[in-house]
Symmetry: C2
Subunit: 369 residues, 2 copies
DNA sequence: TTTTTAATTTGCGCTTCGCAATATAATGCT
DNA sequence: AGCATTATATTGCGAAGCGCAAATTAAAAA
């Protein structure tokens, strides 16, 4: 696996992810190197079992040496992911393509740190064994949960739900419970990585992710690499919507639902009928305006190619918001000209997938790790 | 000058700029390479006349081989700068350290594009000859003026003052008037480059520049490299303050001054007495609030290490604003924890210096050009 | 004068990559 | 079938960059 230390190999892997199966010649063109260079790098990656070759079906019937397409080998890289909710935890094993090989979830009864981590560590271990894999074949375990980072790098502010937790230092506090390297990042930023590696942003250079769950988070990707800023708090869009005011968050939606006397008591239980209720329609109208404003702010600061919306709100709401934002002529006063593209996140349904994306990102992205 | 193509040489030059005179050993440490590598790169740079060696005065009296300090050779790189105002143009010749070797300015009478460019080209030419230099020793000429970039890359939207100008395409329209490569970027982003290369931000990794002149502009530097975003419109902070409303711009200040019946009719003519006038004091109060809000927005999106204030407002106003922003406990509701540092720009007095910084940046920065 | 110390340089070998020549596997032509 | 043509991939060679270890240099200290 030493190959992953080499920047050229990482760049190649990145291209395989974004450009699907490609020939060596195309890769050489995209990387702006000689075909011979690609051959050499690919040979190492083949040796290490990180990529596989297959025949090019579209190439049949044409003249010349038939190109062989290269692809990431699904089992070439394995990663574990852990997402910790206030109420449940989710764990999974994921391959190089972001396919979930196995997952478990359980509600959290005992919120003590070490008790919970014992359970989670055991869950990852169990799935590893059930798949017949060795922990040392894993590139790492990513841990994700709602919360902001403190000014000390790598340390996460205790979330409101886990007030008895210590301030988490990923490298020290999580490590004892896993047989592999452990990394952590908050839910929004992990979700963004899933989008970058497996989802709709595989070939978008610069984008901003707006994460609407119970709370509001976000992430920024610049040049296909996660930009964290000072104290890993870049793109913390939640901070632009004061908690004392109505805001475009899941909690706020649930409060609206409750006020309207509807039944749903959690984001997964909102029915189609609920969405037609007037107070919810009003909620969406308001959130549309708030996101328009946020998009203007993002456009005026980061000026990304795309703004991606994802999170745990009902799918129908996301679709509606994307549609309305895409259709809007202007994002605000004095704004004219083209918007960034608005994109619906594809990989936000399983937050533990985002967590699993983190080790893959750190070890395969050219500018990270 | 072929040395400047090499990334390692560029990285070394960047360090010389930010770390002042340094020994080879220190450079090796900073670059995380072997001292022998530094020796080899430095030898080339010495050959090319880009750096010079000098004795280390602090080293006298101590044992061992005395370290020799390396520095950029001032005349090793030359650049021309042009700033075009609605009313005047400014031209200059600048060396590698950002020292202005020569400058000229003149009011603009004929606003026709080719007439004006003839004059400007002649001005650069004249100064070049008066200094006894050859145009081919120049690394380029930078052109800067107020205005936003259009969606076509490299094309600047015609400014309101030069409505008869075509949409400028730097590489084509400017080139004929100069005997060296020409580059262009708007005033705010050029000013930011001056700050990055010569001013207060030489060793700040990520920062945002807030440019307050007649209008409002801005720029973003990520990892010591200018981030432009889509259509080079990242950090166009002016777009966050609608023109129909009071806003923190020089034009707005001048309007306030006029309304108060004060004499000053341009930003350079504001007197100390004027600044004590109640309406101006109120103006500063309002602008403080607007910049606080902008700083919150910047912090929540880019999360930079520093926010830099510069432009053509009176110095006293900048000092006052920096002081107040630095002292503020919070930038807005729900904001706590540390701010970014607020910094007063050092290199904003001569906008043509910013223009001259552009070719230097493009040819010596590791991630540009 | 010799020793010690610290910064720099030199020699050697490994790795990476571009360039040009070659190999390979398919189709098309006679 | 046999040979030409074509497109893709590979191999061999040489140049460049860099780490490592040994050598060199210029100063102070013994």
């Amino acid at each position: 696996m030493n190959t992953l230390q080499k920047p050229s190999a990482r760049r190649l892997i990145q291209l395989l992810r974004s450009q699907g199966p490609v020939s060596r010649l195309k890769l050489a063109d995209l990387l702006d190197v000689q075909p011979s260079t690609v051959t050499r790098i690919v040979n190492q990656l083949l040796d290490d079992g990180l990529v596989v070759e297959e025949a090019d079906p579209n190439r049949a019937g044409r003249r010349g040496y038939p190109s062989k397409l290269l692809q990431l080998r699904p089992m070439g890289l394995l990663s574990a992911g852990v997402f910790i909710d206030p109420e449940r935890y989710y764990t999974c094993i994921v391959n190089a393509l972001g396919e979930v090989l196995s997952e478990e979830t359980s509600s959290i009864t005992d919120r003590g740190f070490s008790q919970l981590m014992e359970l989670i560590g055991a869950s990852v271990d169990r799935q590893t064994r059930q798949l017949g894999l060795q922990p040392d074949r894993f590139i790492g375990c990513g841990i994700s949960y709602p919360g902001q980072h403190t000014s000390k790098p790598g340390i996460v502010r205790q979330t409101q739900y886990f007030s008895e937790w210590p301030e988490i230092d990923a490298s020290k506090d999580f490590a004892p419970y896993f047989d592999m390297p452990v990394h952590q990042l908050n839910d929004a930023k992990c979700a963004c990585l899933a989008e970058l590696l497996f989802g709709s942003c595989r070939s978008v250079r610069n984008f901003n992710y707006v994460w609407l769950s119970h709370g509001i988070g976000g992430a920024a990707v610049i040049d296909q690499s996660l930009y964290l800023g000072k104290s890993a708090s870049a793109a913390e869009f939640g901070g632009l919507f004061p908690k004392s005011q109505p805001r475009p968050s899941g909690s706020d939606l649930l409060a609206t639902i409750k006020e309207a006397g509807l039944a749903a008591d959690n984001l997964e239980h909102i029915s189609k009928a609920d969405l037609q209720h007037e107070s919810i329609l009003n909620w969406v109208d308001r959130v549309e305006q708030q996101l328009k404003w946020l998009s203007l702010v993002i456009t005026r600061t980061m000026s990304p190619d795309a703004i991606v919306l994802g999170g745990r709100l009902p799918d129908a709401i996301f679709s509606e918001l994307i549609e309305r934002l895409s259709a809007s002529k202007s994002l605000g006063e004095d704004h004219f000209g083209p918007h960034p593209t608005f994109i619906r996140a594809e990989a936000d349904k399983k937050p533990h997938l985002g967590a699993a994306a983190l080790p893959l990102y750190l070890t395969t992205s050219p500018n990270a790790g």
